[in-house]
């Protein structure tokens, strides 16, 4: 029914027909602008020569123009592998902490008795808004005084702070449609608060918790500014930090191979989030509003 706005009515005049075509062409270009930079990386990462552009062999689809050497380079380089290990450790623990703290806070914020809700909410969301350079500078001085620079623990704590807003937002969003009478019903039927939480609340907010966790994971996995300031020893470099050095110092197509792997990861995460969002919408439709 809503398609009547973009589909063309049979009585459309030539101007409208032309505009209809032009509008679609414009949209196609914008979509291309959004997606091309991501897709172009993938074939280039299979380049046989260390250039960042398509060689004539590649354009002729000559197998000799393609190779997996940059992937081999990535997978056999100690520095890259170390950064993968660090990124996974940091992102895992930061996600765990951020999800725990963020979910608790979201549960509190969603209670009708929460005092000064808007104020606290904006404080808890602020790590997302404050420019990263300011956060990084603050953490740099603070860590220098408490001795957390050059440690994975320091990076984990910083990334937890940066990841919590996403958990707070997604879980609060799932709780907006949450029917409070369910908890009352559960209590009335004799369930303890913890039983109510795990058997009634948790299953309903789980999609929000998981998407929040994934957002927190990606935030940590992608964050480079704070790491630039507090990880001064290459031992603590994460993937983005290693990419940063790669782009700034010795630019090599191995970066494109890493980038392609990261794109694969984002596609996987995006799919999970999309499925969760739909499940959550379905579930919400089932509970009485």
């Amino acid at each position: 029914m809503s398609q009547s706005l973009t589909s063309l009515p049979p009585y459309a005049g030539p101007v409208e027909k032309a505009w209809y075509v032009i509008f679609r062409v414009i949209c196609a270009f914008v979509f291309l602008f959004l997606i091309a930079p991501i897709l172009i990386i993938i074939p280039l990462s299979f380049n046989a020569v260390p250039y960042f552009t398509f060689t004539s062999e590649m354009l002729a689809f000559d197998p000799a123009g393609y190779s997996t050497r940059w992937y081999e380079m990535f997978l056999t380089d100690d520095r890259w592998m170390n950064s993968v290990k660090n990124s996974i450790i940091v992102a895992f623990f930061a996600t765990l902490l951020a999800t725990f703290l963020g979910t608790l806070a979201a549960l509190g914020l969603s209670r009708s008795h929460m005092p000064a809700r808007t104020f606290f909410m904006s404080v808890l969301i602020s790590p997302m808004i404050v420019p990263l350079i300011i956060t990084a500078a603050g953490i740099y001085f603070f860590y220098a005084t408490v001795g957390l620079t050059d440690s994975l623990l320091g990076i984990i704590l910083a990334h937890t702070a940066l990841g919590t807003p996403f958990v707070v937002i997604t879980v609060t969003a799932t709780l907006i449609g949450f029917d409070q009478s369910l908890t009352r019903a559960s209590a009335m039927l004799g369930a303890s608060p913890s039983t109510t939480f795990f058997k009634v609340i948790m299953p309903l907010i789980l999609p929000g918790v998981i998407s929040g966790a994934l957002f927190a994971f990606v935030t940590s996995f992608d964050e480079v500014v704070v790491v630039l300031f507090i990880a001064l020893n290459p031992e603590e470099y994460t993937i983005p930090r290693q990419m940063w050095s790669g782009i700034r110092e010795q630019i090599s197509p191995a970066i494109l191979a890493v980038a392609t792997c990261l794109i694969g990861l984002s596609i996987a995460l995006m799919t999970v989030i999309e499925l969760l969002r739909r499940r959550s919408e379905r579930l919400r439709g089932m509970t009485p509003q």
Binding site: Q3, L5, R24, C27, V30, F33, L34, I35, P37, I38, I40, I41, F52, T53, L101, L104, A105, G108, L109, H113, M114, P115, T118, F120, V123, L124, P127, V130, P131, L132, I133, I134, T135, A137, G138, I139, F141, Y143, T160, A161, T164, F166, T172, A173, F215, V218, D222, V224, V225, F229, P240, W244, I247, L256, A259, L262, I263, S266, I273, E274
Partner: protein
């Protein structure tokens, strides 16, 4: 059902005899405390790891005890300097000479010289040289004459004025420097000469680039948000992937791809040369400058514009436009007068969010900005990591943060923090 009046309520009690009103109050207070206790762990965590470190960092912008700590006698003697049109009295010179000897012994002269040099370029060597010479001097008849003879800078009013201003641990000197102001010889605050102005032009450039990025994302994002919102759900869900994938893709990956595309030997230049639009020698420099930065930032921030626009457009009933058109409005007029005004909340939300995110942008300008695309964040990083002028970095950061927080408050007021769209 009759409502109980206040008087009646006051007479009521619970089973154990407490007045109902009091019991209700207590229950509500308990509920409030419980809700707050759930929020408290995160609040404490953020206070320790996020809010306190930033506050401490910002404190550096107004607090600097270098001179008071390292030249304590001089700082104490300065109040005796009353007539600021004359050089300070001998007591100040003598105190300074004693302090200078001590900084030489404690090897702290470097810190003093660096701090003074940030304020007045060139004074570093004046301090270090005199400190080297002063070692073997024992009580000359006048320290004042000795110092002036050692280096003519000590006979300048300016040198002493700088030192006096720095001897106050709490001062606004860094903020003055951050907005290209300085003290003149008469002690008045004046603008620095245009050729030495650095930060005001950078702030202006940062605002200009952010506006440009916001404008570009709106220009590109509006049509596709409209397109997505009016398509059947199945198709729009599919196309939505094109918006969400960039949103989920690592920032460094996207910046790398822009280097690959826009470089002089990159894909775009290759295509243009191949198509005969450019000659091989005429390849255009699209990256490592402002143009490249704005292009890359537009693509990176575009999803933050499209998503709020889309969610607002989704709620606009198509019957509004149909009603306008059936009343005789041409399609464009109906769109402009009926549909577009309804999308304003989305435009506001998207534009504010993109603007907030772009004025603090660091990574993309740092990697592809070259000389002309550097923004204020990059200068903060420079003073943090290279020049080590932390006070100035803190002052620049303080100004940036104030701007962002004002915009954030505006966002909260106009859009509501709980509506921050995450796709």
């Amino acid at each position: 059902m009759a409502q109980a009046t206040v008087d009646e309520l006051q007479g009521l009690t619970t089973a154990d005899g407490t007045p109902l009103r009091q019991a209700l109050h207590r229950a509500e207070r308990r509920a409030k405390v419980r809700a707050f206790l759930l929020v408290a762990p995160l609040l404490v965590f953020l206070t320790v790891t996020f809010i306190y470190p930033i506050a401490q960092m910002l404190f550096r912008s107004v607090h600097d005890a270098t001179i008071v700590e390292l030249l304590p006698r001089t700082a104490e003697a300065f109040p005796a300097w009353e007539d600021r049109t004359q050089l300070p009295p001998e007591s100040v010179f003598a105190a300074f000479a004693a302090d200078l000897k001590e900084t030489r012994e404690n090897r702290t002269i470097g810190q003093v010289a660096t701090r003074v040099n940030f304020e007045e370029g060139g004074l570093r060597s004046t301090f270090t040289r005199t400190a080297r010479h002063i070692d073997d001097v024992e009580d000359p008849p006048s320290w004042r004459d000795w110092l002036i003879e050692d280096n003519a800078d000590w006979g300048k009013l300016d040198t002493w004025a700088v030192l006096e201003r720095l001897s106050h641990p709490i001062n606004a000197l860094q903020y003055l420097a951050a907005v290209d102001l300085e003290y003149n010889t008469q002690g008045e605050v004046v603008a620095v000469p245009p050729e030495r102005q650095i930060y005001v032009p950078i702030f202006v450039r940062t605002l200009w680039m952010s506006l440009l990025v916001t404008g570009m994302t709106l220009l590109l994002g509006y049509p596709i948000a409209y397109f997505l919102a009016t398509l059947p759900l199945r198709t729009s869900n599919l196309l939505m992937i094109m918006v969400l994938l960039p949103f989920w893709t690592s920032l460094l990956v996207r910046t790398t791809s822009w280097i690959v595309i826009l470089g002089t030997e990159g894909v775009l230049n290759d295509i243009l040369v191949w198509a005969g639009i450019l000659s091989d020698e005429g390849r255009i420099q699209l990256i490592y400058n402002q143009t490249g930065t704005v292009i890359a930032m537009t693509q990176i921030l575009l999803p933050f514009m499209v998503l709020p626009l889309y969610s607002v457009m989704k709620t606009i009933s198509p019957s509004y436009m149909r009603a306008a058109m059936s009343l005789g409005a041409p399609r464009f007029l109906a769109f402009w007068r009926v549909y577009a005004p309804n999308t304003l909340p989305g435009v506001g939300a998207g534009a504010l969010l993109v603007f907030i995110l772009s004025i603090g942008y660091y990574i993309t300008p740092a990697l592809v900005g070259g000389r002309t695309g550097q923004m204020i964040s990059n200068f903060i990083a420079f003073h943090m990591q290279s020049s080590l002028n932390w006070g100035l970095a803190a002052a620049l950061g303080g100004i940036l943060l104030a701007g962002v927080l004002i915009l954030y408050a505006l966002y909260n007021r106009l859009v509501g923090v709980e509506k921050l769209s995450l796709g």
